[in-house]
């Protein structure tokens, strides 16, 4: 069988058009920047009917328009590659077509999500407003792409080969190489080539997103719980408590992150059970947070209070006990252990939460110090509300804007941290398909073979970029009102 080319027969027609369009687009962008620096902004004049128009023509007016059209053309063409590829499939539409066809469930999910969100965007609050900003939409699209990929890949959909399967003769083979001795029902190619152990790079990259999607948002959420539970009282009360907690936070922040990872994640330290003890401390914060949140609101209505507390805390407590318990480790008592987390995952999770929480603490503390001087806080104090009610139900909701934006940025940073852990071979098992580990493996042969290292690198880049753009869009939209 012939090896696949990147774009296949579809590319014979589309490739030349793409080259021309990209060249035009790039030169127009350069021209536009030069114009915006060298020429003054076009002056506006008011027409009799109340509309505005530019008085002078010239490059200052047509350059931006032409750039936009060329950009749209490039985008449309790229979309054609994907849609055409999804229909035609691997041999006809090349590697890109093959990948696009594998990802059809993701495309369908994305289109449905975007269609529904844009239809009902006026009723969806801040989330709906996101669809008013182009930057925010691009970011959200990138993030949701990887979320869907991670979800589907968790059930082994999308993958062309099992991520750990080694096929003899496929070691370091180029992208699009047909599978040697492919049997009936097996996928016929290694779409993005094989890695140093003859595994499929494409499937490993997709499977790697599952790990990131599973750990990064949850770890960030935990870090926020810790940061909020400690940061609100520090900012609200101030004084000795604030000095002490800030000192602790600065202590952790002064540590070089990588040294901390080395100290926490090496097998010898894991054997002492230290990460587990840290999990015991860190994972109790969500419980405290929920308990205080409910209790401060319904303290006056004991019946409701106890019902809600029971509904929320009992499952959380069982979950907490199961998570910190593990067979054959330092904390191991039988009756409350329903499942075990893979030890590597728990250690990675704990260290990422530990590194992230001081920064969240500082942000929440700053916001609390700012907001506690507002009139509505004074009003609540005059009403005789308790301090925790004021912190959680008056200050926290009013700090949500910056916190949501920071949450998005921090998921991105957590993704980078997970990659760093993988890059140094810490925590996760060496055969794990997560992006950091695959980049680390791929870089060893980088001067000869590019294809094992680059796909996970671009995957990580696009996810973090998407989160940053999403945060930017959210910031812009939340500042508007």
């Amino acid at each position: 069988m012939e090896p696949l080319t990147w774009t296949g027969s579809l590319g014979d027609i589309l490739d030349p058009i793409l080259y021309v369009l990209v060249a035009v687009f790039v030169s127009l962008v350069v021209l536009r920047i030069a114009v915006s620096i060298l020429l003054p902004a076009p002056t506006m004049q008011t027409n009799p009917d109340g509309t505005l128009s530019a008085t002078s023509g010239g490059p200052a007016v047509w350059a931006p328009r032409a750039t936009n059209w060329a950009g749209l053309g490039v985008l449309a063409l790229l979309l054609t590659y994907l849609i055409g590829g999804a229909i035609v499939g691997a041999p006809g539409a090349g590697i890109i077509g093959g990948m696009s066809q594998q990802l059809v469930p993701v495309w369908i999910a994305l289109v449905l999500l975007f269609a529904a969100s844009i239809k009902f965007k006026r009723r969806l609050g801040l989330y709906g407003k996101l669809f008013d900003s182009t930057i925010g939409m691009i970011g959200f699209g990138l993030v949701m792409f990887w979320v869907f990929v991670g979800l589907f890949a968790a059930f082994d959909m999308l993958l062309t080969h099992p991520p750990l399967e080694q096929v003899s003769g496929m070691k370091n083979e180029d992208p699009g190489t047909p599978l040697r001795g492919a049997e009936e029902g097996q996928y016929q190619w290694y779409l993005l080539g094989g890695d140093a152990l003859a595994r499929d790079v494409f499937s490993r990259m997709l499977k790697g997103s599952t790990i990131v999607i599973a750990i990064a948002p949850l770890a960030t959420l935990f870090a926020f719980m810790v940061g909020i539970t400690l940061g609100l009282p520090a900012g609200y009360y101030g004084g000795k408590l604030d000095t002490f907690l800030s000192f602790l936070a600065n202590l952790i922040l002064a540590f070089p992150v990588i040294l901390l990872f080395y100290l926490l994640v090496t097998p010898e330290i894991v054997a002492t059970g230290l990460p587990q003890y840290m999990a015991v401390v860190l994972f109790v914060f969500p419980l405290i947070f929920c308990a205080v949140l409910i209790n401060s609101r319904y303290a006056g209505q004991p019946g409701k209070n106890w019902t809600y507390l029971a509904i929320v805390l009992v499952p959380l407590f069982l979950l907490y006990m199961s998570v910190i318990n593990a067979n054959d480790s330092k904390i191991d008592f039988w009756p409350l252990d329903f499942f075990d987390i893979a030890p590597g995952i728990l250690v990675v999770f704990v260290s990422v939460v530990f590194v992230n929480s001081p920064t969240v603490f500082r942000i929440v503390r700053g916001l609390a110090m700012d907001i506690k001087t507002r009139d509505y806080v004074a009003a609540a104090q005059t009403r005789g509300e308790g301090p925790w009610y004021i912190m959680l139900w008056e200050i926290l909701p009013n700090a949500r804007g910056p916190l949501i934006v920071d949450f998005c940025l921090r998921i991105g940073y957590t993704t980078i941290l997970l990659g760093t852990l993988g890059f140094f071979g810490l925590g996760l098992p060496p055969e794990s398909p997560d992006w950091g580990s695959t980049i680390n493996e791929g870089r060893k042969l980088l001067s000869i073979y590019l294809h094992p290292a680059l796909p996970p690198a671009f995957a990580l880049l696009s996810l973090v970029l998407g989160l940053n753009l999403l945060a930017d869009g959210l910031r812009e939209e939340s500042l508007k009102d």
Partner: protein, 348 residues
């Protein structure tokens, strides 16, 4: 001001003590010591042999006592063998035990002996730190001016095409961690698969003889990640200054746009980026570790990885002391500098 600095220095010393104690505690946990004994002695040592090996070198004392010995506030441990020879941390081989000093810790200037490199820690740290210093110097030289230029160009006309293009570029670089941008840069500029081969994919030869060819990629990789952040801060600060009243007055007075930017806006717009640049140092330290590993440049970051990977206790402690001091001193400088640059803020 003097009192402020004094208090900050006090907090700094307290922080450094706490941090080194944490590192000391973690590296002295028993499984770590066992690993150390086995790598230094013999992989097939029995548990008793490990214990006697550790006992002979004073590792079996309580952690606070060992920490005090490392600091140099308690007389250090001596082991008297059955035949009467005395060995200890302060006693070099061939030295008469009676003449050796009682205290030898970092307060006496004794940093210990690295078990991985078989050299005194102080020598390793000074040479490695020098190499990283060279790297950092070029990173700063590349990163700071280009970030400031990017930020000022983007911020002087908010919302223009220049602003959007440069802001997109800045966001992309902040979203690219060093191990991603480094891999991409090596792939494009140094691999034989693409074939450009403008630069070298390893900086190992740059330790003796840094040239543009072998040193540019590591410098660029670190600079790119920090650059986006500084550029965005500069842009925000510049955009804010450009809407100020006095800029409008200058425009109404008929001052030309380039003059407004250079003479009126720039100085006030650069206050915020100054603090950001100083606070960027701890981040750079992280980047240095990754880049030195990726490009095989045997500087401070590379030493950290080696020390941590082999549980080289004294080297690891020295590394953490140095990095903590770097972090805290840059924080102090940024606070003091901020006060000097911005007369509206006073310390008290």
């Amino acid at each position: 001001m003097g009192l402020f600095i004094l208090r900050r220095v006090g907090v700094m010393i307290l922080t450094a003590l706490c941090l080194t104690f944490v590192v000391f505690f973690m590296t002295n946990l028993y499984p770590n010591l066992e690993k150390l004994a086995k790598t230094q002695g013999n992989f097939r040592m029995s548990d008793e042999a490990v214990e006697s090996w550790l006992d002979k070198r004073g590792y079996m004392q309580s952690t606070p006592k060992k920490y005090a010995e490392w600091l140099g506030v308690m007389p250090s441990y001596r082991f008297e063998a059955e035949d009467g020879t005395v060995t200890g941390r302060c006693i070099d081989p061939g030295m008469d035990p009676a003449e050796a000093p009682n205290f030898c810790g970092i307060l006496q200037g004794y940093w210990g002996y690295s078990t991985v490199f078989k050299e005194p820690v102080s020598e390793i740290i000074s040479t490695r730190l020098g190499l990283t210093g060279v790297l950092m110097f070029w990173v700063m030289l590349l990163m700071v001016p280009s970030a400031l230029i990017l930020g000022v160009l983007a911020g002087m006309r908010e919302g223009s095409a220049t602003d959007r293009t440069l802001s997109t570029f800045a966001i992309t670089t902040t979203a690219t961690p060093e191990y991603v941008s480094g891999v991409i840069l090596i792939a494009v500029f140094a691999s034989s698969a693409v074939g450009l081969k403008w630069f070298k994919g390893t900086a190992a030869s740059a330790m003796e003889n840094p040239t543009f060819e072998n040193f540019f990629l590591p410098v660029l990789t670190i600079a790119l990640y920090g650059m986006g952040y500084i550029a965005r801060m500069t842009r925000a600060s510049m955009a804010e200054v450009m809407t100020a009243q006095y800029i409008r007055t200058a425009r109404l007075k008929g001052v030309s746009f380039p003059n407004i930017v250079v003479k009126h806006a720039l100085r006030n717009a650069l206050i915020a980026p100054f603090t950001v640049i100083m606070l960027q140092f701890p981040w750079l330290l992280n980047g240095v570790v990754i880049v030195e590993t990726l490009f095989n440049y045997k500087g401070f970051g590379w030493t950290l990885v080696q020390a941590a990977g082999n549980n080289d206790i004294e080297l690891l402690l020295a590394v953490s002391v140095v990095s903590v001091i770097v972090v805290l001193v840059t924080q102090l400088i940024s606070d003091i500098g901020y006060v000097y640059l911005n007369p509206r803020i006073s310390v008290s």
